[in-house]
Amino acid sequence: MTERPRLAVVGAGPAGLAGALAAAARGVDVTLVDAAGRPGGQFHRQPSPALGAPPRQGHTWERLRTGLDRHRVTHLTEHHVWCVQRDSMSFLVHALLGPAQDEGVSLRADAVLLATGGHEYVLPFPGWTLPGVITAGGAQAMLKGERVLPGRHVVVAGTGPLLLPVATGLAAAGAEVAALVESADPGAVPRRFPDLLVRPDKLAEGAGYAVRLLRHRVRILTRHTVVAAHGTDRLEAVTVAPLSPGGRSLRILCDTLAVGHGMLPGTDLAETLGCTLTGTAVRVDAEQRTDVPGAWAAGETTGIGGAALALAEGHIAGRSAAARLYGRTPDPAGWAPAARARSRLRRFFAAVDAVCAPPPGRAGSVPDDTVVCRCEEVTAGEVRTAVSTLGATDARSAKLLTRAGMGWCQGRMCGPAVAALTGCPLTPGRRPFARPVPLGVLAALPDPDAPAP
């Protein structure tokens, strides 16, 4: 009997699940590796079983969940992958186990599908480190996973397609949403209609959220931004200012600010593996292959575009990987519907991106005493000094001269702000370890000189 080829899928969100199912259905031995205790990723995040709450419903989710059981996909939960390594003929996926992440495990595979998603970022403003200020995605995770409200009086702010569902979800769960503050200009939408209309369903979804917010009497402020959060021990109010000249600032009382300025692709594993990036995303071909042979990528890691796009990309990646692992050239006609969805969604989200770009210049104009890197407590003024008097001209030298981005999060949060203050384009940071690794785990890695098992 010949052994089935092994595919390791990193990430159990929509892209990883779709890829795992597509490959497993075609005879591949699939191992799905994910940091969470349950599949779904952020989008299909399920309530904690301890809550005894009914699972979220939905056709897509049902299909994915039952598919996992039917196709005998090995699902390794609470495996935090810190590095994927390629040697002569196969891949080693290195992970840390459980919530403690003290122990390591290494998994061998013939191919990998990187579906590592993205992470949210927040551009700093005075007071953004106060307790009570959380990310929009964090508020959503609390709501979906723990069924708890982050606060009673909430302002949702920033920009991007995540804000609408977050505000709607909070309002529906009983929070008083004092305002939704979106920096984008709705006036820019008509210009993008041709691109947005390729997915009228998505456009309608957005409009539906807006209608529900109005029904909850949530005030929607567009072309506005939060310029300061106030409070002594914790958040008490925010100041919101118009982005157009002439308007007046207003102060809104709240105990919680859920803020997000967008998402960045999670490219750490791909970058260390040697995959070429385009901008901040992993570059893939029409089959979702990276330029490292045997490595596929799908979902937000190849560009931010939401769950539906991730599903389409994951499906294509899984089918391509299955064919290639069996030595066949895949026939793209087999995944034509997914490919069609992919191209339309990419076009749609490129237009959304253009509308929802964070206001230019804001991140670079925060006051000197505002902390931009909270891990290392580096202020905007320190970054400016490094640029003006010490010769920092890019994000790396700004980091070396200020320590911004050297702390626990390794610049995932402050990267965009430091780039803006340095006046250089945002480039993905080089993070050989996708998460902190105990030295004992590094020391216990397989001996490179020992014969392979």
């Binding site: 702390g407 050989p432 004992g440």
Partner: protein, 386 residues
């Protein structure tokens, strides 16, 4: 008719060595400009640990330069110490076995004869100097002259204090030479800089700059990984390393050799470095390298097994075939001065190098004999290369 001069001297390279050359040249009243294709500290300087070591060097010209440099670093620290995180913490070299201890003791005796302070330390005193050190080692030697700086900050602050004009993001594309061969400045992608003297402080890329002046300087890269842990309260007080490090520095082996220097930093993280491999300019992560670093560090400090590494980075240490830097005027191209090829010791040796270069630029007698560092010493035929 000579072109109007831009300045007295152009230093190519805004790393630690270039910064030190600029500083000492400016103090000798020269008008200095510094050019770098990247930012300040963008090359090897930004990828090192900031070791100022005398302990790892046996008697000879490099040790003499290290002792001169250590004195100059202590002088500089008077004004800049806090800004550059200068810490005269001292080194502690550990011998695990009696055999290693006797080799270390002999080595230290030679160093003492050359002017190094090297105090033998028994196992009990070791425990009081480094309470978290693994028990049961044979002994060690303490080197109070070893110190530490944050290299990128050191380069940036020294450049700034020098008053030199710094042109970052500007690539040198040629070395200008008169018909008689004399160097007259550099050509860059943003215009020419005319000067009667050019200092090659291009580090790992020093061979390329030499080639622009049509002289040969065989600088090669040696890759070194450094591991950085999460911030910790100070538990490692000195620069601590195992005695076999000394053998590695002089090693001609291309294979991975590692006996990591372990040290706490002012900012909190413990630094563990560095490996030494000859693999060209390959920056990709080597798990065997970080595995070796982690094993070596845990071998000295067992508590580190439970401490997390936040990141690792690689740098390319520039070395010359005889493991000595090139320092001084190049007789093959009058007006060209070299200050590169310091391998893993460039931060430590920068101050002495800068002073010697300034002395050479101003025609003063050098503080030490430059003969061992002659840049033309690798020319077997003695002439210019093509």
């Amino acid at each position: 008719m000579a072109k109007r001069l831009t300045c007295d001297v152009v230093v190519v390279g805004a790393g630690m060595v270039g910064a030190a050359c600029a500083w000492y040249a400016a103090r000798a009243s020269l008008d200095v400009r510094v050019v770098d294709r990247g930012p300040v500290a963008g090359g090897t300087t930004g990828a090192g640990e900031g070791n100022l070591l005398v302990s790892d060097k046996g008697p000879g010209p490099e040790l003499e330069l290290a002792l001169l440099s250590a004195r100059l670093w202590a002088e500089l620290a008077d004004g800049l110490g806090a800004a550059v995180e200068y810490e005269p913490k001292g080194g502690l070299v550990i011998a695990s076995t009696p055999a290693a201890l006797s080799a270390l003791t002999r080595f230290a005796a030679g160093q003492r004869a050359a002017g190094v302070t090297a105090d033998p330390v028994g196992p009990d005193e070791l425990r009081s100097l480094e309470p978290y050190l693994i028990p049961g080692v044979a002994g060690g030697v303490r080197y109070p002259q070893d110190a530490q700086v944050m290299p990128a900050l050191a380069a940036a602050h020294l450049l700034r204090a020098s008053g030199a004009r710094v042109h970052t993001g500007r690539t040198v594309t040629g070395v200008l030479r008169a018909p008689d061969g004399t160097v007259r400045g550099v050509r860059t992608d943003h215009g020419d800089l005319h000067a009667p003297a050019v200092v090659n402080a291009a580090g790992t890329w020093g061979g390329d700059l030499a080639a622009l002046a049509r002289v040969r300087l065989p600088v090669l890269p040696r890759r070194g990984f450094v591991l950085v842990t999460e911030p910790l309260p100070r538990r490692v007080r000195h620069k601590v390393y195992a005695a076999d490090y000394v053998a590695d520095v002089a090693s001609d082996s291309a294979a991975l050799r590692s006996s990591p220097v372990v040290e706490g930093t002012a900012a909190g993280p413990v630094l563990i470095g560095a490996t030494r491999e000859r693999v060209g300019f390959d920056r990709s992560l080597s798990l065997p390298a970080v595995r070796a670093l982690a094993r070596g560090a845990i071998g000295l400090f067992p508590f580190l097994a439970g401490v997390r590494a936040l990141r690792t980075y690689a740098g390319f240490r520039p070395y010359l075939p005889d493991h000595l830097p090139a320092i001084g005027p190049d007789p093959r191209a009058p007006g060209l001065f070299h200050a590169c090829g310091h391998e893993g010791a460039g931060i430590g040796l920068a101050t002495g190098t800068g002073r010697l270069i300034a002395q050479a630029l101003t025609g003063k007698a050098p503080d030490m004999d430059l003969t061992p560092f002659r840049p033309e010493r690798f020319d077997t035929e003695g002439g210019e290369s093509a």
